[in-house]
Amino acid sequence: MTTHAMLQALADPMGVPFYPRVFQTLGVLTFSIHILCVNLAIGALVLSIYGRYWGDDFWKGLSGSLAKACTAAVSGAILFGVAPLLFMQVLYDPFWYASNMLSGAWVLGFVGVVTAAYGILYLRVSRDCGASGVVSAALFLVAGAIMHALNAQMLAPEKWTDWAVKDGAPSVSGLALHAFEPLRFAHFIVPAVAAAGVFLMLYAWYFSPREDFDKTVLARAARAGASLAFWATAVQALGGVLWLVTLPSEFRFHMNPAFVVAALLGFGLLGYFWRIRGKEDPAASAPGAAAALFIVTLAMAASRETLRGLYLGKWGYTLAAHQVHLDIGSTALFFATFVLGVSVAAWLLAVAFQAGRVPGRWTPGPRMQAWGKASIGILAAWLVVVVALGIFITFKNHGA
């Protein structure tokens, strides 16, 4: 059986309910947020450990806040991990499933490793980021390595049949990982330090209006953050170039707009961080730095997606080949829910944002209160509409 025929035999015969480009866009968007959260989590945890063991009073004092940031970031990573997991399975089902089945034990192990790492983080690290912090960080790195290996295995369908067989018998233990690209893995992990740097700048910026915070500590956090962001990005740029030149030359990445734009933006970010680093008060630039980091991450995620297309295109696999069975109803349900849900989540975040910026208790003004009431109304209205639809369809399809 040729690789092409194998892929055709594996592909789900039911088609997709909407245009593949839309799933792809959502996948790239949510993956960018996923990897930013992953980076922040790992970066913050590493700095927290550094502070606890080797830092001066300044770093020791920040260790707790950094560990807390890590916990929230891991939640974000999980939240924004399931979305690309979903969209990946819509568009790349043969690749993702084959890769999973070939390493079944690792796939389940991934869940165990992340659960252990996260559990330790909550139950111990949040109190004192000592040895438990180190264990947790190591486990997160293992989890990332498994994710990376699964992604790398996807891209080599020509090797799957060899991996699935051992001495003429089917290999069914799933105990092996078959692919690992250190430079690619590094490319997704090194930005951890940059993300933590930007977080420190944001921290300084966010608490600057609070009278009860030590101004010198905030100023130092901003400077340290800007410096970390710059140096980590410099390392990242170097590693990125190295990774690009090791890619198969037939991909002609220097001609591909996705790679060129991402690379230019990456160097732009480096220059921008250089400027911020030289400033008197880097904290003021924190929101801009965060936005720039997000844009560059998005570009990186887009070129990662392009790269996947190039690898899989070798076997004639294209997005356009998916058969579309338009399902307008469920598509509309999602997009309507998305708009409404984001507005509700935004209210919650706005409350948290404002409440954290003042000491003591914060009471929302009339506009915020109205928005809060509307949020409850939105959820109730959503339920009413869906239940009504459900009752209607139940009667239509199944009678009384």
Binding site: A9, L10, D12, P13, M14, G15, P17, F23, S75, L79, G81, V82, A83, L85, L86, V90, D93, Y97, A98, N100, M101, L102, G104, V107, V111, T115, Y122, W160, T161, A164, V165, G168, P170, S171, V172, S173, H325, D327, S330, T331, L333, F334, T337, G341, V342, A345, W347, L348, V351, A352, R361, T363, P364, Q369, G372, I376, W382, L389, I393, N397
Partner: protein, 439 residues
Amino acid sequence: MYPVWEVPGLTAGLVLGLIAAFHMLPSHLSVGAMWLNVYLESRAERENRPELLDFVRKYSRLLLIFSYVFGSLSGVGIWFAATLAAPRAISGLIHNYVWGWATEWVFFIVEVVGIFVYVYSFDKVDRKTHIRIGWIFALGSWTTMVVIVGILTFMLTPGLWPQTGGFFDGFFNRTYWPQLFLRTGSMLVIAAAYATVIAARVYDAKVRSTVARAASVFGLGGLALGAACFFWYRASLPAHAVEIVEMLVKPGLRQGMIGSTVLLALYFGWLIVKPASARFWPALASILVLFAGIWSFERSRELIRKPWVIPNYMYSNQIIGADLPAKGVRSEIPAINERGILKTAPFVPKNLREVNDENRLQAGRMVALLECAACHSLQQGGVRSLARIAREKELDADMMEGLLYSLDQMPYMPPFAGTDPERRALAEFVAALSKGELR
């Protein structure tokens, strides 16, 4: 057909079952707990009893850690385990219900942001705003249930979907409503049982009593709703499923469901009468009883889907067994019968593609891995071990071969698919396995 991943003795399906049953606790706690919280927090505000907030605070920390650390990850665990148990089935579900899951995910965002903000803003915003955050969380998380139940029930009763292929035609099917309210009942029970654990750890005796009684009322109400909907659910099951219940659901599972319901009713009833007697160990025991009940229910629910993983479309061994004109899909059985399963499945070692005298047992094992291992262990023991079944029924290769001609005469098994030599090889493999001639 994807490469096979075998969990010796257990089957990947049982691993999935274990994770899924565990997931019931944190996920239903997450959906149910906030209703009790907003009730008590509002009461604290109305009756000016700030000491009640002590409980609310402790309880929401449990919610954050248990539901959002272990709950969200066991949810991810179900997904991965389901992938490993039957990748083609999860693929089939996703290619139909991707927007359903995506919609649930939006509410998952609201939940995660909601619980973080709720816990961390406890003393940072005024009470009224805080209660409002609680309401958003409570509504948002019940909504995730409204969505996921549609996909869960689809896997048993796909409604008009096999004819139309339409999302909502499969979603709002005949077991949707009973199961939605059955789960709503269980969410209240789970939330109540956990609340009594936390209540037992509150020092203030008056607070303990107030909370234990309120929680028990929730719990008893949930049990009543759940029990009523259970009968509604049973009545709405298709005839095939009822037949399987009679054949496969062992007395132990039935007793598990009935027994845990009765015990929990007694427990909550007792606490309503004597709320001050809430103690930690009985409360913890109530959760174990609850788990036994959930395990029995979920196992039974899993059994009655056999032999399908997606009804009237895909068998548990991931062979597409029926046409689906609405999506232009045809049954794979005729093609497999003609060409052979070993030639059709992509990941069969080259030397096993054709059955011959040298490779007969190995080829038989490959067929068993592809067609039987989803439900039967291929070890000497374990879940429905083929070796043990053949020993107990004293099946030799000839009898086994005969049985394979009519495997689907039994309502819980798919038909054998493949050529005559493959059938013979499978039969000989099972016979050899049962005699202990193979590992």
